[in-house]
Symmetry: C2
Subunit: 258 residues, 2 copies
């Protein structure tokens, strides 16, 4: 198993507090020591940092922990290898261009037989089930919509593909093109939305505490999505099994169970 982290916000927001917890789980408070990655959207393009070394030791992870890159949409992942060797090409999140913008994907779980599913255009670079599934998803979207469809049609198409993937295994996943985060919960995903009035939060995995009131303005709205709650003094929403969720500008905007 791996751990996922996503952030959707209505203003460019610093994710360092949540990333500090995830990075600890990469080999220190958690067993996810086979690499990590974090991708920050900046408009239609991304900054990506990946490392096959454990995130708790990685120098690049230290940079990310210390450097305030602000973004409205972030996806991160720490990896415990099941399928696919430990190497940079197997590190999530994965990125590809579709309809002239970057698409980013991270996954936890295993998908039995996924590599027999057809791919027409995108090809995996590494050997994970996860990257194969990502190529399948965007391949299907591209075939269905040669041009970018409206957001409702797109959401429905992604929901259908995610449902098919949940039927062959465990598919907890985050997919984003910078504006929306599409989440699939097979059985382990939670989220928290923080809006004014902001309080204080303490990380489960570290001695860190943050007072969001000091870091935000009254109009800010931020949702953090994670495999397991990252803070101990806040109420996290536990997602239903087999559910599909869509986040935009820091809010949950759609949710369906299948």
């Amino acid at each position: 198993m791996c751990e996922l982290l996503g952030m959707s916000a209505n203003v460019p927001t610093d994710i360092r507090f949540s990333f500090a917890a995830l990075a600890k789980r990469g080999g220190e408070t958690g067993p996810h020591s086979d690499g990590w990655g974090i991708v920050f959207f900046e408009n239609k393009v991304v900054r990506a940092f990946h490392d096959p070394s454990p995130s708790c030791q990685s120098k690049i992870a230290s940079l990310v922990r210390e450097y305030p890159i602000k973004s409205k949409s972030v996806i991160a992942h720490v990896r415990k290898a099941n399928r696919g060797r430990v190497s940079l090409e197997n590190n999530h999140p994965f990125t590809r261009e579709l309809w002239g913008r970057a698409w980013v994907f991270a996954h936890n779980g295993q998908l039995k037989g996924i590599k027999k599913w057809p791919l027409s255009f995108y090809r995996p670079i590494g050997t994970t089930d996860s990257e194969y599934a990502f190529c399948y998803i965007i391949d299907q979207l591209r075939q269905k919509f040669p041009k970018e469809p409206n957001s409702k049609k797109l959401e429905k198409a992604i929901e259908d593909i995610f449902k098919n993937l949940r039927e062959i295994g465990v598919f907890n996943a985050l997919l984003s093109q910078g504006q929306f985060i599409y989440a699939s919960c097979s059985k382990k995903l939670c989220y928290i939305t923080r809006c004014a009035p902001f309080g204080k939060a303490s990380l489960v995995d570290d001695d860190l505490q943050v007072d969001f009131a000091q870091e935000t303005t009254p109009n800010d709205c931020v949702t953090i999505i994670a495999t397991k709650p990252l803070t101990k003094n806040e109420e996290w929403h536990i997602c239903d099994n087999n559910s599909f969720l869509v986040f935009k500008d820091g809010l949950l905007i759609s949710q369906n169970c299948s």
Copy 2:
């Protein structure tokens, strides 16, 4: 104009010495203050660092200057914007997946009318001529070769596409898929190959000196490709106008003028 930097090596090699010079030209000893980027191949995948702030001031550039990422193939770029605004999506090098591996491209020059050339699959994310040209190149390769061809056929196809691009403007460019670096020189490109016995070199743009004998083994072979010579006490090869060059494992393996 922008400046290009490429490295081809037969063993994973540290490029910090050359990058230090390039980073200085990004706003300090040179006018290229509209962003920078560097991409390191690791097998079939890449680590990419980009920043729209001047490389001489960028915190991410400091990380790259201090962190010894070793690679056999590196492409870097500092930008002086001509076409396309200053933003992350317009920062070279650009990356796309083709035939299950990452392809990376950086360019200096302007290509008149390139945006009227047809694209069938890849789409630019930003607004530069350069990214459009990159999409065109890999689109053409993909159309000609649904599967990866042998290296001779591939080289010939790239040479032909580069020649077409040089006919519509200035096309100094570096393209790599991790094993080969394909270079186009319209009128400004040079390279140096360093093999045993290694000597000392001093940067043109900085007070830095390096004794390569201390940093290498007798079997190492490294070629640095750049817009202008980066060191002042070595003989750089000035590439012919309208030439096409291919580097592999630290050596020039092919060269043609058109």
